[in-house]
Symmetry: C2
Subunit: 112 residues, 2 copies
DNA sequence: ATGACAGGTAGGAAATTTCCTACGTATAGT
DNA sequence: ACTATACGTAGGAAATTTCCTACCTGTCAT
């Protein structure tokens, strides 16, 4: 199994594109698919789309395996764990904001 | 309270820069700060840094209020909720993957 | 073998982002 | 009033990203 750690930077950069986020969503909702079927959802040439897939491959967010002359792409969500971990320390801030406790927060020095 | 909804695209785009993510972290850990103190951590000119702050302002991730001739920046983490919501449906995928990895590691421990 | 299909790479144009220097605005101190 | 400080905007160069057309490789069908 691939345990290589891809940098946070590259993961966030990969997610910055709406096209790439949509690809991840499609793979999540409809399971592994060949390029052709994924590409149907996007108004761009296939070489351009191929580039997006390359970015996703390089961050480990998808893997590819050949089936005949197709290439099945599969979601590998593990790198998203990095994003989740980055997000976690902020969580209490926006939850408190939602419940109107910001002023209390400002008084407290966080010690966790 | 600001309920204006900033597009997911712009939030992800804002987070794509390591500089901007670090600013958010600094505001989280050290509380509201003037530009000067934030800028100390970055090797760039202040106008360039100002641009990054503008991006963060426009996504609602920070707010500014003037205090004398300084401008205090404050973290507004609420838009990060969008990111978390985007992330959530993927969660079980990488958790399954993680438990798979953990089981594998447990086996390796048993065998050594 | 030949052709069609699936999908990639190469090279480059156009758009966007990042960073710079120069300058503008507002406030504080003298 | 004058100067220094804090921070912004303007305009542009350089780097990066996105997207294109053209071409290459590997697999399937005939």
């Amino acid at each position: 199994m691939n345990t290589e750690r891809v940098s946070e930077d590259r993961i966030f950069a990969a997610l910055a594109s709406p096209v790439r986020r949509e690809v991840l969503r499609l793979l999540r909702e409809e399971g592994p698919q060949p390029v052709q079927r994924l590409a149907e959802h996007f108004a761009m040439t296939r070489p351009s789309f191929s580039e997006h897939l390359r970015v996703l491959r390089e961050t480990g967010l998808v893997t590819e395996n050949k089936v005949g002359r197709q290439r099945l792409y599969r979601l590998e969500a593990l790198p998203l764990n990095e994003v989740q971990q980055w997000l976690r320390p902020f969580e209490r801030f926006w939850r408190d904001r939602l419940t109107g406790l910001r002023d209390l927060l400002d008084q407290m020095d966080d010690e966790s």
